[in-house]
């Protein structure tokens, strides 16, 4: 995965638990600043090791950590250098989701080694939207669930997200918007 993912994790851990905790994660995994270069690709296993070490340090299960991180990731991207890209992609929940694949296509064009997922709105109503998630990576549904929660935060919406189905390389999420 790209170093940007590692940077986001570091930032979240430092903000929430302090530099010492992040230092312990680094020592556990054996990583250093050279593993935080945004545009550099790293082995997926390394990323998963960092996730596991971070979850352990925070006293969370890996799925719990991934969900927290997914939610944080939206905030990290929007206030960082990539905020303008997120604004360009869409300024409301539905538009952002509809255009997400086009954003990922551009990322893939620039960073050819990027493995990007695909999102498709399969059903929508007044107070809900059902999204299909397609990927070649496994085990990241909690992270995606967190991403949707982060998007609700970004667009100042109240609601809930649940995984309604999960299979090999695909999952469906139901996002329900709370009234008021």
């Amino acid at each position: 995965m790209y170093g940007m993912i590692h940077r986001g994790m570091r930032q979240m851990i430092i903000e929430q638990s302090g530099e010492d905790v992040w230092s312990r994660v680094e020592r556990t995994v054996g990583t250093g600043p050279e593993h935080l270069i945004s545009a550099q690709t790293y082995d997926d296993n390394l990323t998963l090791e960092i996730v596991a070490a971070a979850a352990d340090q925070l006293g969370q299960s890996v799925p719990e950590f991934l969900e927290c991180y997914g939610r944080y990731w939206i905030r990290f991207a929007e206030r960082g250098s990539y905020g303008a890209m997120m604004d360009f992609t869409g300024r409301d929940f539905h538009t952002f989701l509809e255009n997400l694949d086009r954003l990922h296509q551009a990322v893939h064009t620039a960073l050819s080694e990027a493995i990007t997922p695909s999102f498709k709105i399969v059903d929508r109503g007044e107070d809900y939207v059902r999204v299909e998630y397609l990927t070649v990576r496994e085990g990241l549904e909690p992270f995606v669930l967190g991403l949707f929660e982060g998007l609700l935060d970004r667009f100042e919406l109240k609601g809930s997200v649940e995984t309604t189905s999960s299979g090999s390389n695909t999952a469906q999420f139901l996002i329900q918007f709370a009234n008021g």
Binding site: A39, F88, T95, N99
Partner: protein
């Protein structure tokens, strides 16, 4: 051929479309234009809102464009640029146009992906430009982080080196005592062969112990041995692109390097880290934009440094410091910045002082900050002055120097006793001193040919003592002893140096070489 396109499809394919009638009045507007230009109301004239950038003369309506040919529109406030073509649709005209962003920067654009058709190539282009800009900003942050990390590593290594050096020094002192006294036992007149054998085992073990301390010395000497002769102008020039990366594009760096060919002998890593620290501080003092000025110049001895030196000046046009902040700027752990660690300027101060230089800061609130580093110019390479025995002098154990008075200074009592006995066994008169204070008294009390002193004498320095003694008596010979290598610049070229644990034979050879063996030995006044 008739083509039926629903409004929904039209809005999807051309979100910025316009439909005008035969009078040039707007009939319908696409959703994107609706959002970008809410003043585009049906019934208003097209030319009231747009300039036709590629107007052509046509005999038919609309008279400024031809059906099927390229059409370029610009809003009067130049915010919206459109291009496409015009189609006749029944009695109206469809302007099938799309946005052409005047600037490709996502940050300064109000356009969204939804403002473009599904396959509009502008979208991936803009996203790529946005991604590129984001990655450039990220790279700057990463370069800074890596620079800080390198500095932290260098500081940690520095501390580790010091600790290693101190441990090596203390360990060598103890080994020296063991070795000297093992030799005393072995050389005692009535010692049995068993005693001599045991003493030899002790001495050899002490020798093996010295190999361990040598490893520590090697580690501690990394910082010392990493001193290299370098040309500040060249180092700054070679790293100018890196420095520009650190400050970013909003800050301009100007260089004025006027010390070409001038050399200093410093730690390259320490020098570079000091520059990086100062440049980072300057950058943080100029959050919007500014000027960073880096200059060098050679200087003769002056009030700043009493030797030829190279002055390196880094100044910025930032917010400057108050007098309170300036007064504490070099203090370790002090920082005026919320996220500062307080080590940047402190490490610069430490580095410059260790290199024998001077550093000063000038700053005024609102008027920027200037940092001047003065480093001694390197002349000839220093030598350790470690003595080599004159091969034609003597056989092992035989010393041909004339008996002389030696002031012996050593704050370890067991070592002092052993050395005194060793030198007296060679026929010398020895004034044993356990401190620099006692040595000063001994040097004044009677004429002395040789000062043999440990470098570290508690809180005092044997090299300073030697410098004082030589100033009073220039013909005085000096041999310094230590388990730790002193700074190069503190050694006089005529002094000799012997490392601990002391080899008694080597010491005797050095004493002999330091003291004249001819009959015309000059009298020491």
């Amino acid at each position: 051929m008739q083509l039926d396109i629903s409004t929904e499809l039209l809005e999807t394919l051309f979100p910025a479309f316009l439909i005008v009638d035969g009078t040039g009045s707007i009939r319908s507007v696409g959703p994107s234009l609706n959002r970008q230009m809410p003043e585009l109301l049906p019934g208003t004239k097209l030319v009231d809102h747009f300039v036709i950038a590629n107007k052509v003369d046509s005999p038919e309506f609309p008279y400024w464009a031809r059906i099927g040919e390229p059409l370029q529109l610009k809003s009067h406030d130049d915010r919206v640029h459109l291009c496409g073509s015009m189609l006749a649709v029944e009695s109206n005209y469809l302007l099938a146009v799309r946005h052409v962003p005047p600037r490709f920067s996502l940050k300064t654009n109000s356009l969204l992906i939804s403002d473009f058709g599904p396959d509009d190539p502008i979208v991936p282009s803009m996203l790529l430009v946005g991604l590129q800009q984001a990655m450039i900003e990220d790279s700057r942050e990463i370069a800074l982080e890596l620079g800080r990390e390198r500095q932290r590593s260098a500081e940690m290594f520095d501390r580790f080196s010091r600790i290693s050096g101190y441990m090596a020094h203390d360990f060598n002192n103890l080994l020296s005592i063991i070795r000297l006294n093992a030799d005393r036992i072995s050389d005692a007149p009535n010692s049995s062969s068993r005693t001599r054998r045991l003493a030899q085992m002790i001495a050899e073990t002490a020798l093996r112990g010295s190999e361990v301390s040598s490893s520590l010395m090697t580690l501690s000497h990394q910082r010392q041995d990493s001193r290299t002769r370098l040309e500040p102008d060249k180092l700054i020039s070679d790293n100018s692109a890196f420095f520009q990366t650190i400050v970013g594009s909003r800050i301009r760096i100007e260089f004025s390097l006027n010390a070409t060919g001038r050399i200093v002998e410093v730690s390259r890593v320490g020098f570079l880290n000091s520059l990086i620290n100062l440049i980072v501080n300057a950058r943080e003092a100029m959050p919007d934009k500014g000027l960073l000025y880096i200059s060098t110049a050679w200087s003769a001895p002056d009030s700043k440094l009493l030797c030829d030196h190279i002055a390196i000046v880094i100044s910025d046009s930032g917010h400057g410091m108050t007098s309170d902040v300036l007064a504490k700027a070099f203090e370790p752990m002090y920082s005026s910045k919320p996220a500062g660690n307080g080590m940047g300027l402190a490490s610069v101060f430490e580095f410059v002082n260790e290199m024998g230089g001077e550093v000063c800061l000038e700053s005024e609130l609102g008027k920027g900050t200037l940092c001047r580093i003065c480093l001694p110019e390197a002349t000839l390479p220093k030598t350790m002055g470690v003595s080599q025995a004159r091969p034609d002098m003597f056989d092992e154990g035989e010393v041909n120097a004339m008996p002389s008075r030696i002031v012996l200074v050593e704050d370890e009592p067991f070592a002092l006793e052993a050395l005194k006995e060793l030198l007296e066994s060679q026929g010398h008169e020895v004034a044993p001193c356990a401190s620099a204070k006692e040595a000063r008294a001994a040097l004044v009390a009677a004429p002395c040919h040789l000062l043999l002193s440990d470098v570290v004498l508690g809180y005092e320095s044997g090299t300073e003592l030697a410098a004082e003694a030589c100033a009073a008596r220039p013909e005085m010979q000096v041999i310094l002893m230590s388990g730790y290598v002193p700074e190069f610049e503190t050694l006089n070229e005529n002094w000799q140096f012997i490392r601990k644990p002391i080899d008694p034979i080597q010491l005797c050879e050095m004493v002999a070489s330091a003291l004249p063996i001819c009959a015309n030995k000059p009298e020491v006044s």
